[in-house]
């Protein structure tokens, strides 16, 4: 139906009929976004778990709880791993389970000492798969200089688990004088990242559903306690350490900004992103700032010490691409703002739930 000019017939747009949907009511059930490491995860913890647990609220919002026992200061943490597929370029759920917990301890400035592990295995899973995962855990523990000292195994009916779920908990020792936690972020701090971001998330995505990006992107899973030790050995005043796992760098910086009530100002040009990750994210409509990492850390360091810490990071094998990506500011407390490569500004918000690939 074209008119005399060949144009499609014009619509009669009725202003009065313009409509919008009803509000989305909060779900009474768990939805995937509750595990995404963003706003929904935070609300689940704040409004459901912490009120129920009471004492847990005192532990703060770091990656580990810091407790004093028998005169020693200990970092204590636990994490569960449900990654699908179980094996991906650069690692498996086994390495993740060890390195993830080691890193949570290291982000309190602790020296990781011992780990526990628990397996929830699905009926029918091949023993050969479990053996490879267990071997990967042993190798990772050796590399991270921790001991796996206790554990548990449960089996669930076929169809009630994705092959293997792994939980690890860990204990580390914190040296005297070390006080690293999100609350210590303060205006003037320099924000450092230890290397290229987004590798783990893209690596896992790339082996799901047959997605291929032309180049294999490998997960960055690695234990970061050695890098942390090198940073602390400079004698610098390191205020905050976090490993930006679920929710990526964006979620981590938002959490720190929120807890410390400071603003964070990023320079987008300084954020290291490999071309493979940039391209894969471009293809899927994802933002590398929101993609998960498993071998990177974010540090907030006193300005006078930042160059020294950055140099120490770059000398370490896991910090060769470390960069100063921004500063902590008085303005916009609780918010993260990025200066774009072209010179504009944008807010970098907490992800609402799971980051979803766009339709086109």
């Amino acid at each position: 139906m074209l008119d005399e000019t060949g144009s499609p017939a014009p619509a009669r747009v009725d202003m009065g009929s313009w409509v919008c949907p009803m509000p989305l009511r909060d779900s009474p059930n768990i939805v995937m976004g509750h595990g995404g490491g963003g706003a929904m995860s935070g609300e689940l913890i704040e409004h459901l778990f912490l009120p129920a647990f009471g004492s847990a609220a005192e532990a703060g919002f770091g990656d580990s709880a810091v407790v004093s026992l028998g005169g020693a200061r200990l970092a204590f943490t636990t994490d569960s791993f449900v990654v699908k597929p179980m094996e991906f370029p650069g690692g498996s759920i086994g390495e993740l389970a060890v390195n993830g917990t080691v890193n949570d301890l290291a982000m309190s400035g602790a020296r990781p000492m011992v780990l526990s592990t628990a397996f929830i295995l699905e009926e029918g899973t091949a023993l050969a798969d479990i053996a490879r995962i267990a071997a990967a855990m042993g190798t990772a523990a050796l590399g991270a200089e921790v001991k796996l000292v206790t554990g548990d195994t449960k089996v669930v009916d076929a169809g009630h688990g994705d092959g293997v779920y792994v939980n690890t908990a860990g204990i580390g020792l914190i040296d005297d004088g070390v006080d690293i936690r999100p609350q210590r972020a303060r205006p003037g701090d320099v924000v450092l990242v230890s290397g290229e971001i987004g590798l783990h998330g893209v690596a896992v995505l790339s082996c799901r559903e047959g997605l291929e990006f032309g180049t294999t992107v490998c997960s960055d899973t690695a234990p970061l306690h050695g890098l942390v030790a090198a940073m602390l050995a400079t004698g610098a005043d390191v205020h905050v350490l976090r490993d930006p796992t679920r929710g990526g760098v964006a979620a981590t910086l938002n959490e720190i900004a929120g807890v410390a009530k400071v603003g964070v100002s990023l320079d987008e040009r300084k954020i290291p992103v490999s071309s493979q990750v940039r391209d894969a994210c471009g293809l899927l409509g994802l933002d590398p700032l929101y993609v998960a990492n498993e071998g990177k850390l974010i540090a907030f360091v006193a300005p006078e010490d930042a160059d020294r810490v950055l140099a120490a990071m770059r000398e370490h094998p896991l910090g060769g691409r470390a960069e100063a990506i921004g500063v902590c500011v008085d303005e916009h407390p609780g918010m993260v703002v990025a200066r774009t490569a072209l010179g504009g500004n944008r807010v970098v918000d907490l992800p609402a739930g799971e980051q979803l690939p766009r339709i086109c």
Binding site: M1, T5, S7, P8, A9, P10, A11, R12, V13, D14, M15, S17, W18, V19, C20, P21, M22, P23, L24, R25, D26, S27, N29, I30, V31, M32, G33, M40, E209, G210, L211, F213, G214, R269, S275, R278, D279, G282, L283, L284, G285, H332, M335, V337, T340, A341, L342, G343, G344, N345, R346, V347, D349, A352, G353, L356, P357, R358, I359, C360
Partner: protein, 370 residues
């Protein structure tokens, strides 16, 4: 993969901005049709860097935004049925229907799966012959060829347990509708590069001529968008109204003949409702008679749904470029990406979500921190 960094170069961007500034003598309002362009403009802060006289108006081209509530409700109804595997691109899962979204259906036991290609859904159908597999076929001319190909393949392979829930929409009739609106302020268009990659540029000269409006086919990287704006401004300043292709690395005048042939075989043009706008005649596709058996609406008989809309959301006006997102009283208060009233807040490509996510610092404090 090349062609990303090259089109984000800050020095080249500065050069283009200088040329836009130098060419601009008065106020101009330019609409970027596509949500991907809106996302890129706000994400890179391009609107902040343009001269004050250039106003970018955000168009209706977000496939998630314009999918009608009734279709979303049909998707939810089908996805909740036992024996159904409901497949969708990821960003449709968070779009609210009348009272829930696909994530909620999934949490209540529905088998809802994110796929990255409709052909994956067809594979699922072949692997699960005892289940009905439905793919949510939404979007513009960009996504339609792959969906058409999937239905074609399903028929060719004799896969009977696959169907498509179709809500495809077409860009040129929407441009005509916007220009016909009595409140229209649009003086130039950045046409959506992806759409033209498929359809070519042949549909635009009649529109440019009839409405005396420049149309510049534009890509999605920062330099693409700046070059599109520059060319539009040059035309406006010279009083010209032509169709220009500023995205020649992806767009040929004839488009993609194979994709067009597939579309012509599988789909036929129909009137289509646009969420927030209303019915635009001949602005969408439905399955052609030969493939009607693969229409999920027919297969599942979902005609008796009662849909309810919010009375305070103004996303229709946002989609038409009549107001900016923060000019809606609900923006950032009752309406956020977490709790969206309107589709323009749901999709990250929607103008409201882009403003909320990236631009709160520039908005009035009561909106920014609501």
């Amino acid at each position: 993969m090349k062609y990303l960094d090259e089109f984000s170069d800050p020095q080249l961007a500065k050069g283009l901005l200088d040329r836009i500034r130098g060419a601009t003598s008065r106020r101009w309002s330019i609409m970027e049709v596509c949500g991907g362009q809106t996302h890129s403009i706000i994400r890179h802060g391009i609107d902040q860097l343009l001269p004050d006289q250039i106003e970018m108006i955000h168009g209706p081209g977000c496939p998630v935004c314009v999918t009608p509530l009734e279709v979303i409700d049909k998707a939810l109804e089908i996805a909740a049925r036992p024996g159904v595997i409901f497949c969708s691109f990821g960003d449709m899962l968070r779009v609210p229907g009348s009272n829930k979204d696909l994530f909620r259906v999934k949490s209540e036991g529905g088998d809802v799966r994110v796929v990255y290609s409709p052909l994956d859904a067809l594979e699922l159908a072949r692997a699960n012959p005892d289940r009905q597999v439905v793919f949510f076929g939404i979007g513009f001319e960009t996504t339609a060829p792959a969906n058409a190909m999937t239905v074609y393949q399903a028929k060719r392979l004799g896969v009977r347990n696959f169907s498509l829930l179709v809500s495809h929409v077409l860009v040129p009739p929407a441009i005509a509708a916007i220009m016909e609106s009595p409140d229209c302020r649009v003086q130039g268009f950045l046409a959506a590069g992806h759409v033209c990659t498929v359809m070519g540029t042949g549909e635009y000269p009649p529109l440019a001529e009839k409405y005396r409006v420049p149309v510049v086919v534009t890509g999605f990287e920062p330099l693409d968008i700046l070059e599109g704006i520059r060319r539009t401004v040059m035309q406006l300043e010279a009083g010209r109204h032509e169709v220009e292709n500023a995205y020649p690395r992806a767009v040929a005048a004839a488009g993609n003949p194979a994709a067009k042939a597939m579309l012509e075989d599988v789909f036929e043009v129909t009137d289509r409702a646009w969420r927030g706008i209303g019915v635009i005649p001949r602005s969408g596709w439905r399955l052609s008679e030969r493939y009607r058996d693969y229409d999920a609406e027919q297969r599942f008989s979902v005609d008796e749904l009662h849909t309810e809309e919010s009375s305070i959301c103004r996303s229709g006006e946002v989609l038409q470029g009549l107001i900016k997102p923060h000019e809606c009283a609900a923006f950032g208060k009752q309406c956020t990406p977490r709790n969206p009233l309107g589709a323009t807040m749901v999709s990250s490509e929607g103008a409201c979500a882009a403003y909320y996510l990236y631009r709160r610092l520039d908005l009035p404090a009561e909106v920014a921190h609501a």
